[in-house]
C-alpha cells in the first residue's frame, strides 16, 4: 500500500521568555519529533488533551506553520517550505469552529470560489459547475450560495467548511476537531457525511479529536499524543480496548461511559512546558513509574505487532 503522508522527526518549538536583546531565553517544545506514516485511503485518528500539541501538528501538516525540524512528504513528494499554496492542492484543513473559519463578510459563493480560482485558476463557467457539485456532495441547497455565514447553523457551517476544503481537490484532509463544536445529533450527521465523502473521493483523513469514542468510531489507526510526543500508536480496535501505555489506559478509563462506575485515574495534570521533566513526561502521574522513567525518555517502539508505545514498562 502506498503512503499518502509521511513525517520524519517533525518538531516545532516556540521561543519563550524573549530577552530585550539577543535570542529567546528558552523554548517550548509544542511538538517533539514525530514520525508518522499514513497510508492511502486510511483514517488516522490523533487523540490528545488540550496542550498536547495536536493542533500545532495539524497546522504544520497543512503548511500553515513552518516546522522547526524534520520533514513532510505527501505522496512521495517532499514539501520543504511551509507554503499553503503548494500544500493546498494536496492537503486541506477543516477547522474546529465552523463559524470563525468563515469570513463573516463574504458570501458562501465567494468562500467556495477562492480555492477554485486561486489554486486551480478555473474560469467562471467551470467554477459554477464545480460549486454545484461541491454543494451536492455536502448535501446543501444551491440557494444558500448568496447568503452570509451567520445565517447558518453550526452543522451547516461545518458542511460549508468541508466543501471549501474539498474544492481544492486535495488527496488528504486534516480534520481538526471537526465535530466538537456541534451538538450530538448534528455531530453524527457530519461524521457520516465525512465517511461518505471519503469513499466517494478516495480521500485520506487525519482526524484529530479529544473525544475518544468519536475517534474510535471513525479511525483505522490511532495515535495518542501526550505533551508533544506520540506515546502510543496502533490499530483503532486495539488502542483503547487493550492500551499499552499507561496514559492511554488513563484516557480510556476516564472517558465517561454509560454503565461504568466513576473511576478517577489519579490526580495530576500536564507538566510545566517551560520546565519539562527529563524522563518520561507522564512519569509524574504514572502509577508504574520507576527511576528509569524519571531519568530517560522512552522511545516509541513496537510492543505487539503493529501496536507501538513509548514506555519503559508497557502494560
Amino acid at each position: 500500500m502506498t503512503l499518502a503522508l509521511k513525517t520524519e522527526a517533525l518538531a516545532k518549538r516556540f521561543p519563550a521568555g524573549r530577552r530585550l536583546l539577543g535570542g529567546p531565553r528558552t523554548f517550548v517544545h509544542a511538538v517533539r519529533p514525530v514520525t508518522l506514516e499514513v497510508r492511502q485511503g486510511e483514517t488516522l485518528g490523533v487523540v490528545g488533551e488540550s496542550g498536547c500539541g495536536k493542533s500545532t501538528l495539524a497546522r504544520m501538516l497543512v503548511g500553515l506553520l513552518a516546522p522547526s525540524e524534520g520533514r513532510i512528504e505527501i505522496e512521495g513528494r517532499a514539501l520543504d517550505k511551509a507554503d499553503p499554496v503548494a500544500f493546498g492542492k494536496l492537503i486541506q484543513y477543516v477547522f474546529q469552529d465552523p463559524q470563525s473559519s468563515l469570513n463573516p463578510r463574504k458570501t458562501i459563493r465567494a468562500i467556495l470560489e477562492a480555492p477554485l480560482r486561486n489554486l486551480h485558476g478555473m474560469g467562471r463557467a467551470a467554477r459554477e459547475t464545480r460549486i454545484a457539485e461541491l454543494l451536492a456532495a455536502v448535501n446543501l441547497r444551491e440557494e444558500f450560495l448568496d447568503r452570509y455565514p451567520h445565517e447558518f447553523s453550526g452543522g451547516q457551517a461545518q458542511r460549508i467548511g468541508i466543501a471549501r476544503a474539498l474544492a481544492a481537490t486535495p488527496r488528504i484532509l486534516v480534520l481538526d476537531e471537526p465535530v466538537s463544536a456541534l451538538d450530538v445529533s448534528v455531530q453524527a450527521q457530519v461524521l457520516n457525511l465525512l465517511a461518505d465523502l471519503k469513499a466517494e473521493f478516495g480521500l485520506t483523513y487525519i482526524f484529530i479529536s479529544h473525544d475518544l469514542a468519536v475517534v474510535e468510531a471513525v479511525s483505522d489507526r490511532i495515535a495518542v499524543l501526550y505533551f508533544g510526543s506520540v506515546v502510543e500508536e496502533g490499530p483503532a480496535e486495539r488502542v483503547f480496548a487493550r492500551p499499552r501505555h499507561p496514559y492511554t489506559q488513563l484516557l480510556a478509563r476516564s472517558a465517561p461511559a454509560v454503565g461504568r462506575p466513576l473511576a478517577p485515574g489519579g490526580e495530576g495534570e500536564l507538566p510545566d512546558p517551560l520546565d519539562p521533566p527529563p524522563g518520561c513526561a507522564f512519569a509524574g502521574r504514572c502509577p508504574k513509574a520507576t527511576d528509569i522513567c524519571r531519568h530517560t525518555a522512552p522511545a516509541l517502539r513496537p510492543i505487539e505487532g503493529d501496536q507501538l508505545a513509548a514506555c519503559h514498562q508497557p502494560l
Binding site: 477547522f95 481544492a168 450530538v184 453524527a188 468510531a217 483505522d220 480496548a241 488513563l250 465517561p256
Partner: protein, 620 residues
C-alpha cells in the same frame, strides 16, 4: 439598517448632532447658489457693522466684507478640508495599520515604533514643522493635519487587524491559495472597514479644529480666501472692540465640532454589538416575573419546579425557552438535565434563583419551591440571602466566573463573608479548609494565586469550593466539566459524587453528555425545545428510552469500545423556539410520527417514569 437608525436616534444628543450637522452640511453645499454677497468685496465705509445691520445680517468684518457670506464660504472650505484630511489620514493610517497588524513580528515592530515616534511629538509642533518645510497655504496645512493624524489611525486599525489576523478564516484563505495582498484586501479590509469609516467620521471634528489652528496662525488659508480659522485670526485684533467678528466663526466651529462629536459617539454606540444584543442595558437584579396563576405544589422535594415557564421577549418575537418544566430534587439526590444547545436546560437552571437576564428574560408561569417556599417572585432581598447560601451554582467556565484581579483566597473569603459575619482571618481559615475539601493540591499556597495561574481543572475546583462555601443544600451545576479534558473531567465528577454523598447535597446536573449522566446521576430528565420529553431513573432511561428522541439521541452518540461504525444520525435540526410547531416538537424529525403527533398538546404522562409521546418505544 433600520435597527441601526433606531438605536442611533434613541440617543437624543446624537440625534441633535445629526440634525445640526445636516443643516450645516446642506447650507455649505448650497452656498454657491444662495443669494449671498460676494465674500471678497471690501467696503471701507462700512467696517465692523454690528449683526442685524441692514444688508448685512451678521454684520461686517474689518474690511467691510459681509460676515454671513464669509462665514458660509469659510464653513464650506473648513468642512471640505476636514473631510479630505480625515479621508487622507484614514486611508494612509489604515493601510499602515493593516500591514503592521497582519504581518506582525519585525515588520510590526519597525512600523509601530516609527508611528510611536510621530505620536511622541506635540501634534502642533509637527504640523508647524511640516508647514515650515512645505510653505504656508491651505493645501499644505491640509497635508500637515492629515500627516499628524496618521498615527491615530495606524494604531487603531492595527489593533483591530491583530485580532482578525489570528482568526481561522485567515488561515482558511491562505489554504485557499490566497497571497498576502489578496488576504489583506479581500479578507481583512472588509472586516476592518466599519471601524475605519467610524474613526474617519469621528475625526473630522479634530481635523477642522487643527486646520483652523494652523489658519489662525496664518499658516493655512491665505487672504483673501478664508476658512473659519483664518476668519478668527483676522478678527483677533478687534476682539475687544468688535467681538462679533470673532464670535461668528467661533460659534460655527463650536457647532460643527460639537455636532460631529455627538453624532460620532452615537454611531459608535449604535454599532457596538454588545449594545445591540442588549448587554449594555443593565439587567435587573432578579428575573422579571409575569405570571397569572401560581400552581400548587404537586409533590414533595427539597427543590421542586412546578410547570416553570420562561420566555425571552426580543422586539416582537417571543422565544419560549422553557415551557412547563416540572422537576423535583430530594436531599442527596443527583438529577441530570440533558439536552442539546437551545433546549432550555440552562434557562431552567438559571430561572430557579431568578438569574435569567431581564430584559429580555421573563418568567411567565410556574413555581420553584425550596422546602415549600416559592422562589419565583420572591423579593430580591430574600433571593439574595438564599443565593449561594442555600442554592449555589457551578458554571461551565470558571475563568469567566472568577474575578481575574483578586486572589483565590480573597474571593472565597468574600463568598463566605457575604452570608456569615466572621473576621477576615477566620474566613481565610475556612477558605483553606474549602480548598482542602476539593482536594486542591498544595492548598495553602494556592490561596494567594490569581485565577489565570491555575489550570482549567484547578479553576473548576475553586468554582466548586466557592459553591460549597456556605454549605448549601442544593448545587446547580451547569455543564461544569464541558470545558475540561477527559482525565480532569473524571477527577471533577468523582469529586462532585464524593461531596454529595458525604454532605447530602442535592445536585441538579446540566449536561449534554449521556456518559456523564450515566455515571453521576440517579435520575435524568431529557429536554427538547424547552420541554421535558422524558424523565426517570437514569439506568432505566438509558437502558430502555421511551421517547423516540431520547432513543435516537443515545444511539447517535458514539460509545467507546463499540468499534468503527456508521452512526444512526437524526436528520434535520431542532425547531426554533420562537416558531414551535403544534403538538410534539420532535415530530418533524421522528420516524414514528403520525398525524396525531402534530395536533394539540401532548402531555407528560407516567409516574416513576414519565414521557411525552403517543408512540413510545417499548419499555420493559
Amino acid at each position: 439598517m433600520n435597527l441601526f437608525a433606531a438605536l442611533l436616534f434613541r440617543n437624543r444628543l446624537a440625534a441633535a448632532g445629526a440634525v445640526v450637522l445636516s443643516i450645516i452640511g446642506i447650507l455649505a453645499l448650497l452656498t454657491p447658489v444662495l443669494p449671498l454677497q460676494d465674500p471678497y468685496t471690501t467696503h471701507m465705509g462700512s467696517r465692523y457693522l454690528l449683526p442685524l445691520s441692514p444688508g448685512h445680517f451678521l454684520g461686517t468684518d474689518g474690511l467691510g466684507r459681509d460676515l454671513l457670506s464669509r462665514l458660509m464660504w469659510g464653513t464650506r472650505l473648513s468642512l471640505a478640508v476636514g473631510v479630505v484630511a480625515a479621508v487622507g489620514a484614514g486611508t494612509i493610517g489604515s493601510a499602515v495599520g493593516i500591514v503592521a497588524g497582519y504581518f506582525g513580528g519585525r515588520t510590526d515592530n519597525i512600523i509601530m515604533r516609527f508611528v510611536d515616534m510621530l505620536m511622541g511629538f506635540p501634534y502642533i509642533l509637527l504640523a508647524l514643522a511640516i508647514v515650515a518645510v512645505l510653505g504656508p497655504g491651505l493645501m499644505n496645512a491640509l497635508i500637515a493635519v492629515a500627516a499628524v493624524n496618521v498615527p491615530f489611525f495606524a494604531r487603531n486599525i492595527r489593533g483591530i487587524t491583530v485580532g482578525l489576523a489570528h482568526r481561522e478564516f485567515v488561515d482558511a484563505a491562505r489554504l485557499s491559495g490566497k497571497g498576502h495582498l489578496k488576504i489583506l484586501v479581500t479578507e481583512l479590509l472588509p472586516n476592518a472597514l466599519p471601524v475605519i469609516v467610524i474613526a474617519m467620521s469621528t475625526t473630522i471634528g479634530w481635523m477642522i479644529l487643527e486646520t483652523a489652528g494652523l489658519s489662525f496662525l496664518g499658516l493655512g488659508s491665505q487672504p483673501p480666501q478664508a476658512d473659519l480659522g483664518s476668519m478668527l485670526g483676522e478678527a483677533r485684533s478687534a476682539m475687544i472692540t468688535s467681538p462679533h467678528t470673532s464670535m461668528v466663526p467661533g460659534a460655527m466651529i463650536f457647532l460643527i465640532v460639537m455636532s460631529i462629536n455627538l453624532l460620532g459617539d452615537g454611531i459608535r454606540d449604535a454599532l457596538d454589538p454588545r449594545l445591540r444584543s442588549g448587554a449594555l442595558a443593565r439587567p435587573m437584579a432578579a428575573t422579571l416575573v409575569r405570571r397569572k396563576t401560581v400552581p400548587g405544589p404537586t409533590g414533595e422535594g427539597l427543590l421542586r419546579l412546578d410547570d416553570l415557564s420562561a420566555q425571552f421577549h426580543v422586539g416582537k418575537r417571543v422565544y419560549r425557552a422553557v415551557s412547563e418544566v416540572s422537576l423535583a430534587l430530594a436531599p442527596g439526590e443527583c438529577v441530570g438535565l440533558i439536552g442539546e444547545s437551545g433546549s432550555g436546560k440552562s434557562v431552567t437552571a438559571l430561572s430557579v434563583m431568578g438569574l435569567v437576564a431581564s430584559p429580555p428574560g421573563v418568567i411567565t408561569g410556574g413555581a420553584a419551591r425550596l422546602e415549600g417556599e416559592d422562589l419565583i417572585g420572591a423579593p430580591y432581598e430574600r433571593l439574595r440571602s438564599l443565593r449561594g447560601s442555600r442554592v449555589a451554582y457551578i458554571f461551565q467556565d470558571p475563568l469567566a466566573t472568577l474575578h481575574p484581579l483578586y486572589k483565590i483566597g480573597d474571593q472565597l473569603a468574600e463568598a463566605i463573608r457575604c452570608h456569615h459575619p466572621i473576621s477576615r482571618s477566620e474566613a481565610r481559615k475556612r477558605a483553606l479548609k474549602l480548598l482542602a475539601d476539593v482536594h486542591m493540591p498544595n492548598a495553602a499556597a494556592r490561596l494567594d494565586v490569581f485565577p489565570h495561574e491555575l489550570s482549567g481543572g484547578m479553576r473548576q475546583r475553586v468554582g466548586i469550593a466557592m459553591a460549597l462555601a456556605n454549605e448549601p443544600d442544593v448545587i446547580i451545576a451547569d455543564e461544569p466539566t464541558t470545558a475540561l479534558d477527559v482525565t480532569v473531567q473524571a477527577q471533577i465528577l468523582a469529586l462532585l459524587d464524593e461531596l454529595r454523598r458525604a454532605r447530602g447535597l442535592a445536585i441538579l446536573f446540566i449536561t449534554h453528555d449521556f456518559g456523564v449522566v450515566g455515571q453521576l446521576c440517579d435520575r435524568v430528565a431529557v429536554m427538547y425545545a424547552g420541554r421535558i420529553v422524558e424523565e426517570g431513573p437514569t439506568a432505566e432511561v438509558l437502558a430502555a428510552p421511551a421517547h423516540p428522541y431520547t432513543a435516537r439521541l443515545i444511539a447517535c452518540v458514539p460509545e467507546l469500545g463499540a468499534g468503527r461504525r456508521r452512526l444512526p444520525a437524526i436528520p434535520g435540526l431542532p425547531p426554533a423556539v420562537d416558531r414551535l410547531p403544534e403538538g410534539c416538537a420532535f415530530a418533524p424529525r421522528c420516524e414514528k410520527a403520525t398525524e396525531a403527533c402534530t395536533k394539540g398538546e401532548i402531555v407528560l404522562s407516567g409516574a416513576q417514569r414519565r414521557w411525552r409521546c403517543i408512540h413510545p418505544e417499548p419499555v420493559a
